[in-house]
Symmetry: none
Subunit: 399 residues, 2 copies
Amino acid sequence: MYKGLVESLAEKGGGSILLAVLDGLGDVAEPGCKTPLEAASTPNLDRLAGEGALGQHIPISVGVTPGSGPAHLALFGYDPVEFFVGRGILSALGIGFPIEPGDMAARANFCTLDASGAVSDRRAGRIPTETCAALSALLDGMEIEDTKVFVKPEKEHRACVVFRGPGLSDRIGETDPGVVGRPPLQAVPLEPEAEKAARIVTEFLRRSREALAGHSPANGILLRGYAGYRPYPSMESRFAVRAAAAALYPMYRGVASLTGMQVLPCTTRDGQVAAAASALRDGFDFVFLHHKPTDSAGEDGDFEAKRAAVESFDAMLPGLVEAGFDVICVTGDHSTPCSMKLHSWHPVPLLVRGGPQRCGWSSTFCEREAARGALGTLRAVELMPLLLASAGRLAKYGA
Amino acid sequence: MYKGLVESLAEKGGGSILLAVLDGLGDVAEPGCKTPLEAASTPNLDRLAGEGALGQHIPISVGVTPGSGPAHLALFGYDPVEFFVGRGILSALGIGFPIEPGDMAARANFCTLDASGAVSDRRAGRIPTETCAALSALLDGMEIEDTKVFVKPEKEHRACVVFRGPGLSDRIGETDPGVVGRPPLQAVPLEPEAEKAARIVTEFLRRSREALAGHSPANGILLRGYAGYRPYPSMESRFAVRAAAAALYPMYRGVASLTGMQVLPCTTRDGQVAAAASALRDGFDFVFLHHKPTDSAGEDGDFEAKRAAVESFDAMLPGLVEAGFDVICVTGDHSTPCSMKLHSWHPVPLLVRGGPQRCGWSSTFCEREAARGALGTLRAVELMPLLLASAGRLAKYGA
C-alpha cells in the first residue's frame, strides 16, 4: 500500500458499505473433514457468494497471528503496526471506560505480597470478580498532583487503571516482576519525558499498598501494558465516509470508536440488524457489524458451536440485505481454528457483494472457494480501499 | 513485511522445521506438456502434498530473476535487498574459502594484455583450470602494507582474490574494461574511505602484472565485484532457532554459514538425510537441506535429468519424514526452466506439511496445484514467518 494514496482518492458520495465481521471466522480442517464454515447450512451466505466475489485476506503479515485490536484496525484500513493500540487502552475500551485523549491506561493485577514485601501470588488467588470490584472502588478516584486516577474492575484479579492528567508518557517500567518471590519492580521512567508519569504511578502504588493492607490475599497491585491514548484520524477524515458500529461487546465498540465511528445502541443480534438498517437510513455510509460467537466457539474448541455461530449470522443476513446496503462485505478479523483454540495466522475468507465484481464463480462461501476467488489474496489493510472502490467512492489515480 | 515484527514475536521452543530446497525446482511447460515436477514419479512428495498445504513463492519481487545467494537468503528470512551479498563474497564462499569478517573479496579474470598494455582477450583464451590454479598459486600470499592477499582458483580463467587487512572498503573501481582493445581500468577509490583499499589493490595489480609477464596468454588480471564481508545477524538471534545446514556444495554451505547456521558434515545424499536426522536429535530446531541436481539439469536444458533429480529427492523424503521433523517444507530457491537453461523469475512451488494447515486440497505437488494451494502466493522472505508460525514459534501480535 502506498501511504496516503487511498486517502487522496477517497470522495464523498457513492454507495453505502456494510462490513460484517464474523470474529475468528477462518478455520482449518484435516484431510477429508469440513471446517465449520463448510459444514454450516448457510443459504443466505451462499446466495451472496454467487452474487458477489470471494477472496481471502492476511490479517497482518504472513505467519503473524493478530490480537483483536490490530486485526480490526487493519479491516478498518488502519495499518496495524503504524496504529498500534497498547494493552492498557484495549483494556479500558474492553470495559467500556470513556477514555479521553491524553489518558494513560495500564492493566492491573491484584496480587499477594508476603511479610517481606515480595510477591507470593501474582494473581491473588484469582479473587472473585466481586472482590475485585470492591477493591477497585477502594482505590478509584485518587488525585495525585494534577492527575486523577480511575481504577475499574475487569474479571477476577484483573483491573484497569487510567491516569488522567497533562503530560503523562507511557514510557515507564512495568512493575509486575513476572515471577513470585521478588518484590514488585519500580515504575522507573524509560525516557526523560516520563519522569512525571513515573512519579505519579509510584505514588499511586504507594497509596494503593496502604489502602490494600489487610485485604490479603489481594494486598498488592501490579501494573503493566501502559499505553497512552492518542486519537486516530477518523474514518471520515481519511476515507470520506460517515461510519457507525453495531457491536455488542465493549472491546469492539471501543476499537470502532478509536476510528471515529458512531457507536450504535444495540444489545441483541436483532438489535444489531435494526441498528445497521437505521444507520443507513440516517445517512451513514459505512456500517461495521461485529459478530462475536464464531470466535468464542473457536477458542472453546467447540466445532458445533462455531457451526451454529455461522448459522446464527446467516440468519441475520436477510435483514441486512433488505436494509439496502450497496456493498456488503462478510469476512473475519482472523482465523480461530477449533483445533487450536487460539487465534491463528491463517488467511481469512472474504466475500464482497455489490458494485461491479467478477461474480458467479462460486455458489458457496468457505475457506477453499475463498482461496480461489476472484478477489485473490490481499492484506486486511487493503480491504477498505477495495470496499470504497466497489461502492464507487474512489477517484481515478492520475490521468 | 514489517521490519523487525517477526523477530519481536519469535519465541524459543515449539516445533522443529526442515526446509528442503530443490535448487531451480520450478519449470514451465508448453500447452499439453508436463514440467519435470509433473512428469516425475513422486509418491512421497504426493503423500506430503495431501497431508499438507501448497502454495508458491516469488523469490525476490515479481519479474526479478535471482542469483543463488539472494534467493537462499530470502528463503532464510533475510530480505535479499537489505542483506545483499556481493559477488566477491559469493565467489569466496563458492570455493569454500574461510572468509572472515572484515575481508574484502573480488572476482578475478586472468586476461591477455598486448604489447601496448591493452586487453586483447578478457578470458585469456579460457585457460585450463590447472593453469589457473598454478597462476593463482604464483600470486597467492602477497603482503601489501598491513594486508594479506589470497588468490584462489575457480574454474578456467576465473579466480577469487581476498584482501585481509583493517579498514578495506569495497567502494573501488572495477578494472575490467568490459571490451577488448583498451587497457585495464584503474582501481580508483569511489569514496574517501576507500583510498587505502584502492592503493592496495593497485599495488596488487602492479605486482601481479610483473609476476605474470611471460605467462601469456594469461599475462594480466582483471578485478570486479568487490565485496566486503559483514557478518549477518544470526538465525538464532533473529528467529530464536538453532539452525543447521545439510548441503553438499560449498556455495550453499557458505550462504548458510552467513546466517550463522551450523554446517553439517556430509558428502552424499544419504549423508544429508543422516545429518539432518542427527541434527534434530542434537537439538537443532531448523535444518536446511539443499538438493542441487534439479538446477544443474535445468541449466543444461535436460528435461529427463531434471525429472530424475526430482525423483532422487523423492527417494530421500522417507528418511526425512522418519526423522520426525514437526514441519517439513519442500520448495525451490527459484525456477530454472529447462527450456530457458537459466534461472528465471517464475513463482516457485511450495509445500508445507505439519502444524495446523488447510490440507487435503491436493494429492500431487506441481506448479499448477501449488498456484491454487491454500498457502496462496507469498514472497520468499515471508516463508520463514510461515514456517515459524506452523511450528508454533511465533507469539501473537497485540491484544
